[in-house]
């Protein structure tokens, strides 16, 4: 509820303070700007729900744009992107559930691995991405810009996974046990906890790859730095959206609103000419504030 009011508050403030904000061009621009963060944050929420974290999503987004900008046809690179994402998710999940590595360390290591490979593939930004990717983002359908449809589709898929399937319920159950220091509770109910945690990391990586595809379509090239610090934005969005970082409590609409708050904040700060460096600092402060105000802070696993 609070993030919703915050979002409306920022929107009203910007509508009054600036002329450009309420123009339809800026609104659609805002949606397109917010979309990669919304997609990444939704993915991040899957792992936060089971008491984990995924810091490798930022690198994975850059990696995805680098793959798409390779000199290869789209019908090869697009499936390849999701295949790699799934492999990265599986590897994160295996390291965390089987080797008992703390998720922050496991995904931090993965972040560096992917970053290195991305810089080998594409040391500086460049290349061109397949036309189908560009068209699916820049075009419009029935007069409505494509990013709106992306948003609807992503939310629909995520809702199905989180709130409309056994998988989602099991994620909540596992996270609830972790947050209450009874990590075996869900297993005692017959929930396959390790497999579900692994699948949560796979989902997180795949959503991040989708965000990468979207970003590649917007910048029309591959960029090794485009995903920089995205993981922190995503975690901040999840936390602002009311998901408990120790796991078990959270909602899809909260995360979407959390991402919107962050996007509005950037959009507003851009419109009011706040330096990007200060913006980064403000976002960091916001994350500290939100997590500091949460009653349970322990990060699970």
């Amino acid at each position: 509820m609070l993030p919703m009011l915050l979002a409306i508050g920022i929107a009203v403030f910007l509508g009054i303070r600036t002329d450009q904000f309420l123009g339809s061009e800026n609104i659609f621009n805002l949606i397109a700007q917010a979309m990669p963060l919304i997609i990444t944050a939704i993915g991040q929420m899957f792992v936060v729900l089971v008491g984990g974290l995924d810091l490798s999503v930022g690198s994975l987004i850059s990696f995805t744009t680098a793959i798409l900008a390779l000199d290869a046809p789209g019908y090869v690179t697009i499936p390849a992107v999701f295949l790699f994402a799934a492999l990265i998710g599986i590897s994160n999940g295996l390291v965390i559930t089987r080797l008992n590595v703390h998720p922050i360390i496991a995904t931090l290591a993965m972040q560096y691995v992917i970053l290195g490979i991305t810089r080998i593939l594409r040391p500086v930004s460049g290349g061109t991405v397949p036309d189908i990717v560009i068209d699916s983002i820049a075009g419009s359908f029935l007069g409505i810009p494509m990013p709106v449809f992306w948003g609807l589709l992503v939310i629909l898929v995520a809702w199905k996974l989180l709130h409309g399937s056994r998988f989602g319920l099991h994620l909540f159950a596992i996270g609830g046990g972790v947050a209450n220091s009874t990590p075996d509770a869900a297993r005692n109910f017959g929930v396959a906890d390790k497999r579900n945690i692994l699948l949560a990391y796979v989902a997180c990586s795949c959503f991040a790859a989708l965000a990468g595809v979207f970003l590649a379509g917007r910048i029309v090239s591959g960029d090794p730095n485009v995903g920089l610090l995205f993981e922190l934005d995503a975690i901040t969005a999840v936390a602002v959206g009311g998901t408990q970082l120790s796991g078990g409590i959270g909602s899809l609409q909260g995360t979407v609103i959390g991402a919107l708050v962050l996007a509005l904040l950037s959009n507003g700060m851009n419109l009011t000419n706040v330096s990007p460096f200060i913006q980064t600092a403000i976002k960091g402060g916001l994350l500290l504030l939100v997590v500091g105000l949460q009653t349970r802070k322990k990060i699970g696993l």
Partner: protein, 497 residues
Amino acid sequence: MACLVEMSKVSKSFGGSKAVDGVSLRLMPGAVHALMGENGAGKSTLMKILAGVHQPDAGDLFRDGQKVSFETPREALEAGISTVFQELSLLANLTIAENMFLGREPVTRFGTVDRKRIRRETRKALAVLGLELNPDTLVSELSIAERQFVEIAHGIKADASVFILDEPTAALNAADVEIMNAQIRRLRAEGKAVVYISHRMDEIFGICDTVTVLKDGKLIATRHLSGMTPDSLIAMMVGRELQDLFPPRGQSSSEAVLALEDFRIDPGSKPLSLHVNKGEIVALAGLEGQGQQQLLRSLAGMYHLSTGTASITGKALPLPAPKAAGIRQLQARKVGFVPEDRKEEGLFLGLSIVDNIAIGLSSVHAELSIAHDYQQKIAETISSMNIKASGASSPVGALSGGNQQKVLLGRYLVAGLDMLLIEEPTRGVDIGAKTEIYKLLRRFANNGGAVLVLSRETIELIGLCDRIYVVHGKTIVAELPAKTATEHQILNAALSA
């Protein structure tokens, strides 16, 4: 009549100690079976084996005459064995309905969880118990009693025929106890078998048909309750040989070191007063979890609901003690607190014996003062306490349990304190080390120290101490001289309170 469940010569060890040793048990339909025994007699372990939480080292389980084995609680539930443990196992962040169906949710043809159906069936299962709870209520919003009823409903829904209730009434108020007992009678009337673990005599005699008594993990007997009295039941639970382990008692003075007046463990509990004199070892005895530990820990600032006045050698100790500085506050008054769990709360397992003892000497000095070299003093302590290790610098984690406990105790003995508050001085320690620890504590008392100790082992308290306070229901219900006290007396005082 054929029994629903039979456990045959079941054994289970943890580390070196046998928690359950060759116990057999038969559960009949339409009967409430009480399981009794002193603290640590193996009741909970036995039931956890039946519930699939632990796997037995030896022995067999039979369900309706068929040999079975349960790897997980889920398998036990599927075989119709439902358990309500003291520590609740529901997930607080899910709704009642979600908890009921977790792990085998029905799905619609679109693959979504069939919420209509789980809501409907949950309401039905709750209605069997006469409960009108909304299935969409989050478990975190339920009272403890309601959570227990939900767990029972969980078993009913799974069509269980055996219900294990591990101290279901321990956390309930009188009205809820009545409801719980009515539910148990209903289960019996429907031909289910109920295992009932409780320390409340009136409940045992009120609702149970048969009783099995365990002691030290061994089966003592299974009897019909109709032929028993509370007295004869207690007699079955106690009666261990008093081993010749304990040093002779000393001379205590009448000078009080610790005195509590009008002390309440919880705001709602009855006030108590207590004193420990110089040269005296005083025990807090009673059944497990009756408030002994809260009493001790509230002095150390680890439990915060207590009120009243406390004084140490005449000087007042503010209550509740501050959380962060409670131990230091005690230390400044020359009182040491020895926690129960030496591995988790007491020792630094990775550090050497020297370091573990030195911290007791160093911690009284200011944070930035120069660390002294206590080698000489520590070497004396190690030899006088007879700590067996390959060297003073070997890590404490590598020592045996008894030697670890001695190192922990040594940290406090070497610091020149006036009083020790000790939880479980000999937990998981072999007989030889026990005797040595008793001697060390007696020597500390004879040199003018005072000791307040709690233990699950009543026999140890009788042998070691000078006076015994019996704690029950978060207050002191009796004070006995240890010289003439018996286990029977103590158990009786606790249970008749």
